[in-house]
């Protein structure tokens, strides 16, 4: 009985998580569906090096260091436009402050299908576990 209950809870949470990911990814802008594999997201721990709150899409630049100390430079495309982000409370100054160089992030991306260190951003957390640039209506 308890197992059945747990299974059902798990199913509910899974559906809710699916709704969230779908809502973030469905309306990404240019070429997103072809360039990025959002069905196989990767989660990375990195350090911000640059952030640009610009059209057509904001961009996060961050470094990921592996266990051997090798650093890989990544770029993430934020699917919503600055306009859409601003409508959800993430104006330029707030976003830039939240992602200033040196900020440690945990970022989930749909990676480039050709294997380059580029991805469409699905979720960004800061060190406190707070979600950054969170919104649910990225537009085409």
């Amino acid at each position: 009985m308890r197992n059945q209950w747990m299974k059902e809870i798990f199913a509910v949470v899974l559906v809710a998580a699916g709704c969230f990911l779908l809502s973030v990814s469905m309306f990404a802008h240019h070429g997103t569906n072809i360039s990025y594999d959002q069905s196989n997201p990767v989660t990375l721990k990195g350090v911000m090096t640059d952030f640009y709150y610009r059209n057509p899409h904001p961009q996060v630049f961050f470094d990921v260091t592996d266990e051997s100390g090798n650093v890989k430079h990544w770029v993430g495309e934020i699917a919503p436009t600055p306009f859409t982000l601003s409508q959800h409370g993430w104006n330029k100054s707030r976003s830039t402050e939240a992602l200033k160089p040196g900020t440690k992030i945990t970022i989930t991306l749909g990676p480039s299908r050709v294997g380059t260190p580029v991805g469409v951003v699905m979720k960004i957390l800061n060190e406190k576990g707070e979600e950054l640039l969170d919104q649910r209506a990225g537009e085409q």
């Binding site: 809870i9 509910v12 809710a16 802008h29 640009y52 630049f61 436009t81 050709v114 580029v118």
Partner: protein, 282 residues
């Protein structure tokens, strides 16, 4: 046990819905700069069914309704309702590369395809009408209705002084638009296009000979309905009539959403091209 499952489901979905709402209250004072000010504007008050509105006055800020389907506002109709193309129309369609799923050719490398707007070329009319990500402000002025599109900061003139459409118009990105009222319906006819522009983000085609018609109707205080019609024998073997599109009135203000080539080039070099496997040396 079932009620517990139901309650948990409700809680999860309620939290999901809550997360969609703006998380902070609107500021009372905003700084100059439009784009820079913060939280989302307050929503419009609920519609009072008895509230009167002028069906011949579209003044204000509107936005094509967004949804889950391309037919909600992004394209004339679903793909199965696209009219058969002529040989010319098919040739042009096949020359277009987008990064979007669909029956059109797809650009994996280079990721940016050859959509002209990805180097900041004008969207033009009709494409601006299919951009659901932005807003448009209507103004009624003597002899004209103006549409100011947030996207690319574009102004459109619709002549309402009874003039005829030009006979041999020069091609323009925005075309040449003349409007008139038929009862409560604003009918806008546009000719004289520059056919280098795409109809929509999927690379659908029109020729410079297209006759494009919009039929707008304000159905309540906050809603415009519009149907588009394309007559373009050079491209399609029959007219293409759209589904009914819904535009909703917006609170807040029109924002700056210019396409700056320096920003677009930066994005292409650092994101769009590398995502498609093209790395630019620095």
């Amino acid at each position: 046990m079932r009620p517990i499952i139901f309650a948990v489901s409700l809680l999860v979905f309620a939290s999901f819905s809550f997360a969609q709402a703006p998380q902070s209250k609107p500021k009372k004072v905003t700084d100059w700069g439009g784009q820079a000010e913060g939280p989302a504007p307050a929503k419009l008050p609920p519609i009072d069914p008895k509230e009167k509105f002028d069906s011949h006055d579209f003044s204000g800020l509107w936005r094509a309704a967004t949804g889950r389907s391309i037919t909600d506002g992004r394209m004339m109709t679903s793909w199965d309702k696209v009219p058969p193309r002529t040989e010319w129309g098919e040739k042009v369609f096949q020359s277009r590369l987008t990064g979007r799923p669909g029956p059109q050719k797809q650009a994996v490398e280079p990721a940016k395809g050859n959509d002209p707007i990805m180097t900041c070329n004008p969207k033009g009319i009709p494409r601006l009408l299919f951009y659901t990500g932005g807003q448009a402000q209507f103004y009624h002025v003597p002899d004209q209705i103006l549409m100011e599109f947030q996207s690319q900061g574009t102004l459109r003139h619709i002549w309402m002084d009874g003039r005829d459409l030009p006979k041999n118009p020069d091609g323009r990105w925005m075309g040449y638009s003349v409007g008139h009222w038929e009862g409560d319906t604003l009918v806008v006819d546009t000719v004289g296009f520059d056919d280098r522009a795409w109809l929509d983000q999927w690379g659908n085609v029109y020729s410079s000979d297209m006759h494009f018609q919009e039929r707008w109707r304000r159905t309540d205080r906050d809603t415009l309905e519009v149907v588009f019609r394309i007559d373009d024998p050079k491209t399609y073997t029959r007219p293409w009539i759209s589904d009914t599109k819904i535009w909703k009135r917006q609170s807040g203000e029109i924002r700056e959403e210019l396409c700056a080539p320096m920003d677009e080039n930066f994005f292409n070099e650092n994101v769009r091209d590398p995502a498609g496997g093209i790395i630019h040396k620095k």
